[in-house]
Point group: C2
Chain length 145, copies 2
DNA sequence: TTGCTTGCAAAGGATTTGCAACATG
DNA sequence: CATGTTGCAAATCCTTTGCAAGCAA
């Protein structure tokens, strides 16, 4: 199986784009992080290794990674886009704590199936979906009590 | 059952806020429209009746309506917030066509129940959720074929 | 009168873009 | 070398805010 690096390079070649140290570094940094990350957080990390990098570049590379199928945009509705790994990372939805923001990846095959059926019942062919479950985690519920 | 108008006025009184012609007009205009509407669309309509109205006021009143429980924010992820009726308008999710944007309100009680269970299985207490189904409507599928 | 409201314009925050200098294939 | 790429700053886009003037209670 191909590595993310290889996928990315293949994508660049396919699009007649070029490999650059900035792109490599931003990709690596993104891959090393497990959790969702915002463009700004990624920029802050990357900047430590190479202070000359501009945030525009981070935004641009993030977009490339999405196009290459390596990253996925996640929108928790707080005005900032987050990015998560996409390659070898099957589809899932998110359960987010309204208190502390703690996030769990969830997947329910029955829900997935029903979503498809609901769409079909209106004559739509489901292409994708977004589902965010918001709640209070155990810790936050205890704090409130 | 109380009218939206009454709800709004009661809310203003409760918060020690004031009734103004602008608020009345924006509320009326919003109520008359059935579908989702953006702040800018609402502003455009309202401006025709009273060109002196500022868009800041529209944004402010929209926020009030949300707080009063009359409007609900809907985020289709295209960078613009939309607002829909909330009062006497039970919870539902949205099925949006990726081609033409045509939107259908959907509700599946089994999905709703499963969402609660999924959250609970991770120790979360579900407070709310967002679910957007994206697909292609019949018309758009024919166009593509 | 008191202090909430308004419209305007300026400010905000996140993301994008124009551009001249630069680097890659 | 021909183009794609970069960093910077300025520009966008949507939304919010500060403020002085205007109103509601």
């Amino acid at each position: 199986m191909k590595s993310e690096r290889e996928i990315f390079e293949a994508y660049l070649i396919k699009r007649h784009l070029r490999g650059t140290p900035q792109r490599g570094m931003i990709l690596d940094t993104f891959l090393k992080r497990e959790e969702h990350i915002t463009a700004e957080q990624l920029y802050d990390i990357v900047k430590k290794r190479d202070p000359s990098i501009g945030q525009a570049t981070v935004y641009r590379v993030l977009k490339l990674m999405v196009e290459a199928g390596l990253a996925r945009e996640v929108d928790f509705g707080d005005g900032v886009m987050r990015y998560e790994h996409c390659y070898n990372h099957p589809h899932h939805d998110h359960l987010v704590c309204r208190g502390c923001g703690k996030t769990v990846e969830v997947l329910d095959s029955v829900i997935e199936e029903l979503q498809k059926r609901v769409a079909e019942s209106f004559g739509y062919e489901l292409t994708d979906h977004e589902m965010y479950l918001y709640g209070l985690c155990q810790t936050c519920r205890k704090k409130k009590a």
